[in-house]
């Protein structure tokens, strides 16, 4: 492992400090957390601005426009990128109340396009394709004649096809709003609810894994930064954070008594 440079050591102190500031939220909302929070908002907006400027304005708009105009200044086509640029500016006129309505034209453009491209693609990928994969014969024609797969472990087996079908239909029925859930309808809807709960449970379990991974990631960094080569950054800063919190608590208590 290479010896850390001054920049990385400084970075380790900053990163470890900010990490601990945010974690102090687990104790309770406090000035250190608020400091980290606001810094975070500012930095991420700043980052977005810099990247958006370079990507959108320079790369997608300004450079192609300048190039096409300098190559063929008389051709009307060279100026075509002005259309999105104007629409983009129309979006910004929202801030001028008298002509704010102009921004609707830009919204109409964006939303119209979005709705248009979404319709056939949604029907294809999220409706037809899903129906296609649910409608399967329950029985297969094998070498030994007709048979029904009873293997639960194989997702495509006949028995799983039935379970899938029952699940999809009963959950769809649960989201049926025109009919009251009584009689056989109630049985189906109840079944749908059980299916939904099993799926949500599975998702919860899966998500636990996801969240713990994030914690593992942050802790690995903190452990790394607690080493001697980083000047025991984590440990020192942990002490600083805890002391600050104690001091802050004392201050708040004093103020409360003073009032």
């Amino acid at each position: 492992m290479p010896e850390p440079t001054t920049a990385t050591i400084l970075g380790a102190w900053v990163a470890a400090g900010l990490t601990l500031f945010i974690y102090s939220f687990l104790y309770k909302d406090n000035p250190l957390f608020k400091l980290g929070e606001h810094l975070y908002v500012g930095i991420s907006v700043g980052y977005s601005v810099v990247l958006a400027w370079h990507t959108v304005f320079l790369r997608l708009l300004w450079e192609p426009l300048r190039k096409s105009v300098s190559e063929a200044p008389t051709l009307l086509e060279s100026y075509i990128l002005l259309i999105p640029a104007i629409l983009g500016f129309l979006m910004l006129v929202r801030f001028i109340p008298r002509i704010a309505w102009l921004s609707r034209i830009a919204f109409a453009f964006v939303v119209g396009f979005g709705s248009g491209v979404a319709i056939p693609r949604t029907v294809s990928a999220l409706i037809l394709k899903q129906i296609e994969d649910t409608v399967n014969p329950l029985i297969t024609m094998g070498a030994n004649g007709l048979s029904m797969g009873l293997d639960l472990a194989s997702p495509q087996s006949g028995v799983n096809t039935i379970i899938l079908l029952v699940g999809v239909v009963s959950v769809l029925f649960y989201f049926f709003f025109s009919v009251e859930h009584t009689g056989p309808g109630m049985v189906t809807a109840r079944m749908g609810v059980y299916f939904v709960m099993i799926a949500f449970g599975a998702a919860f379990g899966y998500t636990v894994m996801s969240r713990m991974s994030l914690l593992i990631g942050r802790f690995s960094d903190l452990i790394k930064f607690s080493g001697a080569e980083y000047g025991y950054a984590t440990l020192v800063l942990l002490a600083v954070t805890v002391l600050t919190l104690i001091g802050w608590e004392a201050l708040v208590r004093q103020e409360r008594q003073g009032v």
Binding site: F109, V169, V171, D221
Partner: protein
């Protein structure tokens, strides 16, 4: 004027919507060319939209600082973070790395933004544990089913669970592939129909809330 304010946007939405719905079914190069260009325009317009947000953020915190509302100091911190990042970003020409070497912009990104964002997210690990403790009770049959399936998946997805309770792996695979797929698929189909219905209503001018204002005026 009323036409420009009310009808024109609806006309544009209608034309854009119908054109790009039908575009999908038309493989001809002319139609492909159209979507190529317009998709690129959308990229640019979406970029402008970012600045709408920036202006609003500026405004909110400027007001806080001007009126010196409690905690206005944090707004200053926010301003400092934002302006600092922008200044450094432009100074580094928006690049985090040049020839493999980190720029100052890259340093700020790696040592402030990455840990801040990662830490915010990882707080979830604690919250999910406390949510599990508070909310995962076998209050009813539905809740018990939810709980059982969550516990099985939690075991089946990690080596220790697979080691202690070997069947949890197979059951987890089955839960995810069959039961979970069925529910997700039903939700997907239903939600997609809702999406298509809404898109249709927008194109036909029945749904206008995206333009601001009520639906039936």
């Amino acid at each position: 004027m009323i036409f420009l304010k009310r009808q024109l946007p609806l006309v544009i939405t209608f034309i854009m919507g119908v054109t790009f719905t039908l575009q999908y079914y038309i493989p001809h190069p002319v139609s492909e060319e159209a979507i190529t260009n317009v998709a690129k325009w959308m990229q640019i317009i979406s970029g402008f939209a970012l600045f709408l947000g920036l202006a609003s953020l500026f405004h909110v915190h400027a007001v806080k600082i001007k009126r010196q509302v409690p905690g206005w100091g944090y707004s200053l911190v926010l301003y400092a973070g934002m302006l600092g990042m922008i200044a450094v970003g432009f100074w580094s020409h928006g690049e985090t790395r040049v020839d493999g070497a980190q720029t100052s912009f890259g340093w700020l990104y790696d040592y402030t933004m990455v840990p801040l964002q990662g830490t915010m997210f990882s707080i979830l690990a604690f919250f999910i544990a406390s949510a599990a403790y508070r909310a995962f009770r076998a209050r009813s049959r539905e809740a018990s089913v939810l709980l059982a399936s969550a516990v099985i998946v939690m075991m089946g997805r990690v080596p220790l669970g697979q080691f202690l309770v070997p069947w949890s792996w197979d059951v987890t695979q089955w839960l995810l592939n069959v039961l979970n797929s069925a529910v997700r698929r039903a939700i997907l189909i239903g939600v997609s129909m809702g999406a298509v219905a809404l898109s249709l209503k927008i194109i036909l001018g029945i749904e206008r809330s995206y333009l601001g204002g009520g639906r039936d005026q």
